[in-house]
Symmetry: C2
């Protein structure tokens, strides 16, 4: 999958990500993966659901993967959960 087909969810408002996804689908991308970690996981689900219900009804879910990533910090390693939501048109 090309790098541009991945949306990394961070601290921006939910609608920024939704509009980025809608733009990509309008540019003939046919599938796209939304990735998030930790507290942003809820936002990733919101983004997928808002895109699907309000903007592009024909979107379907592909694989939804849950994983644990190890973050190496100054005060030692910590684990953080992550989600990958693949959506296809």
């Amino acid at each position: 999958m090309a790098e541009e087909n991945i949306i990394y969810v961070g601290k921006k408002p939910t609608m920024n990500y939704v509009l980025a996804i809608v733009t990509q689908f309008n540019n003939n991308v046919d599938h796209l993966t939304i990735k998030a970690r930790g507290k942003s996981i809820s936002k990733a689900v919101d983004i997928a659901e808002i895109t699907r219900h309000k903007f592009i009804q024909e979107i379907k879910y592909g694989a939804i993967k849950l994983e644990t990533e190890v973050l190496h910090g100054e005060r030692g390693d910590s684990n953080v959960s992550s989600i990958e939501i693949t959506i296809t048109r």
Copy 2:
């Protein structure tokens, strides 16, 4: 699916839910669904990942469903995203 095979994630600490799940699997339950809405979705993913990595390694993910639920409140309806994570042993 019997009602006791559903874990609803709310405001309790993450480990409470993990221990409830481990207890159910130890009582010969072979599959179980974790449900959460809104901000609790991140916690649901943490619960699934901690259970799988720290307690019961042979757990596998079944269906993971994302949906939008309509909440009817005093100030009108609002939408909230939800997740259902099925785990099987």
